[in-house]
Amino acid sequence: MDGSETAINIMVGTIRAGTPLVFAGLGELIAEKAGVLNLGVEGMMLVGAVTGFAVTVLTGNPYLGAVAAIGAGMLMSLIFGGLTQFLLTNQVATGLALTIFGVGLSAFVGLSYIGTPIQGLQPVAIPLLSQIPIVGPLLFNHDLLIYVSFALFAVVSWFMFKTRAGLILRAVGESHDAAHAIGYSVVKIRLLAIVFGGGMAGLAGGYLSLVYTPQWAENMTAGRGWIALALVVFATWRPARVLIGAYLFGGITILSLHVQAAGDAVTNAMSVFPEPIGRWLLVIINSSHLLATLPYLATVVVLALISRDATKIRLNAPASLGRPFHPGA
């Protein structure tokens, strides 16, 4: 196996590992841009995963499964939307409750599907394009959902920055009182954003149960919903950075696995650094736990850096994030 093949392998693995985060992250991004913080991503992902899987088992069609996963995520988010937008419950508490509910509900629904093998989504090579060396295997030989994730990124970027509706969405997230005063229905817009976020979280779960590891198992998201939440902040609410961040998170994981599989080459590589830096780096690399702190620490650092400049953060962060809105309040 030569170097370029390994590199392509790593990059393809990165795209696959990052895809659920792209879906969930872009969905949450839209919700947060509208000023809604939904901490129930993990729960919505799980319900999407189990629903997508169940529908695939019952119909034999994984594409229907993917659609069902979106629908399930949307329904879950409607619970959140109804509670926070109409009954004005606290978003943080409601989101956490949604995750508790989703973990339980998915396990409950999934009881009769544990251990059922399915034929997951298969890669669809795009004719001609997939034959191009390097670029072909990297971009044009994937399952359908990965192409969908590319398209979703394009659509979300276009929507946010090039459309009037995107402008309204951002206005609502920025200052709901002002948006309301101009005459926009804050609640309606937020509900739509929440439902979009839910659908994408559901699809992210569906990607796991239909493509990544075609099976249903309790808690199979294993915390990816929380990483998606971190990702949106890390990306400073910019779609392109969500995409990059998702692949970065995925890439770090894949790369660290490749480093292990390569054996003790790393230990030797670390001797390049002067003492004691090389030794400290080794301690971190050798501890899976310390390595796992890096994405979170990076997010905290990025957040501090971008927030420091008040004007800069105002350009990106939705000012009304997490705040309830009531027209008469």
Binding site: I114, G115, T116, T213, Q215, A217, N286
Partner: protein, 364 residues
């Protein structure tokens, strides 16, 4: 796999369960049944550590019928919750309680002190008391056999191992596997990837893909999900399951699985409690005791390899062959067990080094 079939089997299954329960509560029971309880660390699921314990629970139900009544609690956290659940089970009149995860060790000991008349058995731990036994299987014996198959089936001479945490239990399995491999194929090497989780299908899948990309054509796992076998099936390489038979997740990939069989141990324990002869002891049984088995070998395994495995299995069972018979040399060249000796159980329990044939450094 059609929808009707799965629904029908579900309904049928439920009906059977209902009839069984009805029968269990039916007329004329001679004496109060012996109540036996199980504490599980994860959901039962369809494969894995807990699933094997639950199979054995069903085996004792089948064996003793209405003379016993079993119950279980799943997904019990390894902290203060474990103590409460175990105590509750004891207080509810269970006379025999199996606690099936390492983290239940101290809670089991604590509760056992308060219930001297209840018999406890704790899996994988090292603390015992008057009414607490411990039990464990020599999983490494199955790993050694799996290594023989892997060493024979590999063409690239690179074997991949997806592992959870670098604790002795896992390291022992890796080493036994490597020694099995090297016993038939001195050129092959084992590459290990740690996923830092007992259960994370996504990450296990990534680890498997990574190993395959690095040339591995037979995968072994020490994690709980079936993702590794699935990955092997998709990428057209071989895999060896762990805990449970995972054939249906990758029929073309699944060479065999190194599985646990607690049935006989649990039956004996129940019988001993019924007879009043239960005593505190430590069981560490392997192939000889039937606690460790290989699931049926896949069709792709040729006859000569089957023969090799059968012989090795018989020799391990009879004690003629020890997977860690000296000389045991670690992968830095240091001799850990001299020639002519077998490794001691103590050294096995605390094993913290890689043997020859495993690539890389053991993480601390």
């Amino acid at each position: 796999m059609t929808k009707l079939k799965s629904w029908r089997s579900l309904v049928a299954g439920l009906a059977v369960v209902a009839v069984a329960i009805a029968a269990g509560f039916g007329p004329a029971r001679a004496a109060d049944p012996l109540k036996v309880a199980f504490v599980y660390v994860s959901p039962i699921g369809d494969a894995g550590w807990t699933f094997q314990h639950d199979l054995a629970r069903k085996a004792i139900e089948a064996k003793f019928g209405d003379k016993i009544k079993t119950s279980y609690v799943e997904s019990v956290g390894e902290g203060p919750d474990a103590e409460r659940v175990i105590r509750q089970l004891a207080a509810d009149g269970n006379q025999l309680i199996f606690t099936t995860s390492f983290g239940y060790m101290n809670p089991t000991i604590k509760v056992a002190k308060q219930f001297p008349n209840v018999t406890f058995a704790h899996a994988t731990g090292y603390k015992r008391s008057d009414n607490v036994s411990t039990y464990l299987a020599r999983f490494y014996e199955g790993r050694y056999l799996a290594g023989i198959i892997a060493g024979k089936m590999t063409k690239s001479n690179t074997l991949g191992y997806v592992a959870a945490f670098p604790i002795p239990e896992v390291v022992r399995g890796i080493n036994a596997f490597a020694r099995g491999v090297r016993s038939v194929n001195p050129d092959a090497e084992v590459r290990v990837v740690w996923v830092s989780s007992w259960y994370d299908p996504g990450k296990e899948r990534e680890a498997a893909d990574t190993l395959i990309a690095n040339g591995a054509d037979v995968l072994m796992q020490h994690t709980d999900s079936t993702a590794v076998v699935q990955a092997a099936q998709d990428r057209k390489v071989y895999a060896i399951g762990y805990h449970s038979d995972m054939k249906k997740y990758g029929p073309k990939a699944h060479l065999t699985a190194s599985t646990h069989n607690w049935n006989q141990f649990y039956i004996d324990k129940v019988q001993a409690v019924m007879d009043g002869t239960a005593k505190s002891d430590d069981t560490w049984g392997g192939i000889g005791a039937g606690m460790v088995e290989l699931s049926p070998l896949g069709d792709m395994v040729p006859a000569d390899v089957r023969k090799l495995v059968e012989t090795a299995s018989a020799d391990i069972g009879s004690g003629k062959l020890h997977p860690f018979a000296g000389p045991v040399v670690d992968n830095k060249g240091k001799t850990r067990v001299p020639a002519g000796e077998n490794i001691s159980d103590g050294d096995l329990l605390g094993m913290q080094y890689y043997v020859e044939g495993v690539v890389g450094d053991l993480p601390k």
